[in-house]
């Protein structure tokens, strides 16, 4: 066992030395991990949107979820929405978008996303942060029992993601983590 431990240590040191030099680079494998992290945040957002949009959700719970959803975003993020009959972009602040959603008050809101997504390369911006775009397709179905109205659409969502390496102190240790924040979202109604 002792023999093994020293071997591990040696291997560990050897590999650690290599990685210091490229710790700020985003290798394909790391890019993939960041991609899935970003995608997860996108899915979380969709879950939150379903909760906010549902009439069954209590007001306090909806507000708590709105806060959580808002935490996914970088400050000042906006939604830019266009539809098939209205090509120009209508802008909403993210929080405003959630509040509108809550006000819609469908009895049942079913938000699902198609089993496909696309993730762009990460590009570096002037301040050194990385930026990418995740594209997902979402189906929205809202049913109002009173009026019997049923609204349904399919939208393409191009979601900005900001990726930044950050450090924090946890229990006296320095933890390096990837901060993935959502940014502006372009929502396009599709003819699917």
């Amino acid at each position: 066992m002792k023999k093994y431990i020293s071997l591990f240590l040696l291997l560990f040191l050897a590999t650690a030395a290599v990685s210091v030099a490229q710790s700020d680079n985003i290798s394909p494998a790391r890019k993939q991990a960041i991609d899935s992290l970003a995608l997860e945040k996108v899915k979380d957002l969709s879950k939150y949107i379903s909760i906010i949009g549902s009439k069954e959700t209590q007001f306090s719970e909806a507000n708590r979820v709105m806060d959580r959803a808002e935490e996914l975003f970088a400050p000042g993020a906006e939604m830019g929405v266009s539809s098939l009959n209205r090509k120009e972009i209508a802008y909403y602040k993210v929080r405003r978008y959630f509040e509108r959603l809550m006000a819609l008050n469908y009895d049942r809101v079913n938000i699902t996303w198609y089993d496909i997504h696309y993730i762009s390369d990460l590009e570096r911006q002037p301040d050194g942060r990385y930026v990418g775009v995740v594209t997902v397709y979402q189906r929205f179905e809202g049913t109002s029992l009173e009026s019997g109205l049923n609204y349904r659409d399919t939208t393409k969502k191009d979601i900005t993601i900001y990726v930044e390496k950050k450090q924090t102190q946890i229990a006296g240790r320095t933890i390096e983590f990837w901060d993935v924040m959502l940014g502006d979202i372009r929502v396009t109604e599709t003819s699917a």
Partner: protein, 176 residues
């Protein structure tokens, strides 16, 4: 000319493929060893913190060889028990269809922690022994996250307990 060019690109391809294959054959035992090493370390860490569970208050930063490995094997350690309980809580919160029931489970689970702000680290990637984390969160936020998103994507890869057997730190990892 065309042919020469083609040959060149062929060779280029081969050059790229070769080291890759070589690397792979080396890498897999290495990564297995590394994983083993990691778990070895983890196990050692577990033994160490178990010492902390005992009344001795000194945190003893000095590396000590794992004191009594044989009894550790048959009987689950405090950490193992805590991990088992927590994994159950995580699952039940993520699968809960009732917000009130989920909130009750969350409060129950929070009782296992030294406080609701106990840090939770999520490893998203590991390369050359360096761990990449998601943004650190707290246990309270994480439990609500499980409730809201109804998905339990991570497993517990490391746990720290204080002298009272309460969790002071949790490290999670993505299930593949």
């Amino acid at each position: 000319m065309l042919f020469v060019q083609y040959g060149l690109s062929q060779r280029k391809n081969k050059q790229f493929i070769k080291p890759k294959m070589k690397r792979r054959t080396i890498q897999s035992p290495v990564s297995t060893l590394l994983t083993l090493a990691l778990f070895g370390l983890l196990a050692m860490g577990a033994c160490k913190s178990k010492k902390k569970v005992a009344p001795a208050p000194a945190p003893a930063p000095v590396e000590q060889p794992a004191p009594t490995p044989p009894p550790a094997a048959p009987q689950p350690s405090a950490e193992e028990i805590a991990v088992g309980k927590l994994e159950n809580y995580f699952n039940s919160i993520a699968q809960s269809t009732n917000v009130d029931a989920a909130n009750r489970t969350i409060n129950e689970a929070l009782g296992m922690f030294s406080n609701s702000q106990t840090p939770v680290l999520i490893v998203i990637h590991q390369e050359n022994g360096i761990k990449d984390y998601d943004e650190p969160t707290t246990i309270e936020k994480y439990l609500h996250y499980l409730k809201d998103t109804k998905k339990n994507l991570n497993f517990i890869s490391d746990i720290r307990l204080d002298g009272n057997g309460r969790v002071t730190e949790l490290e999670l990892r993505r299930k593949k």
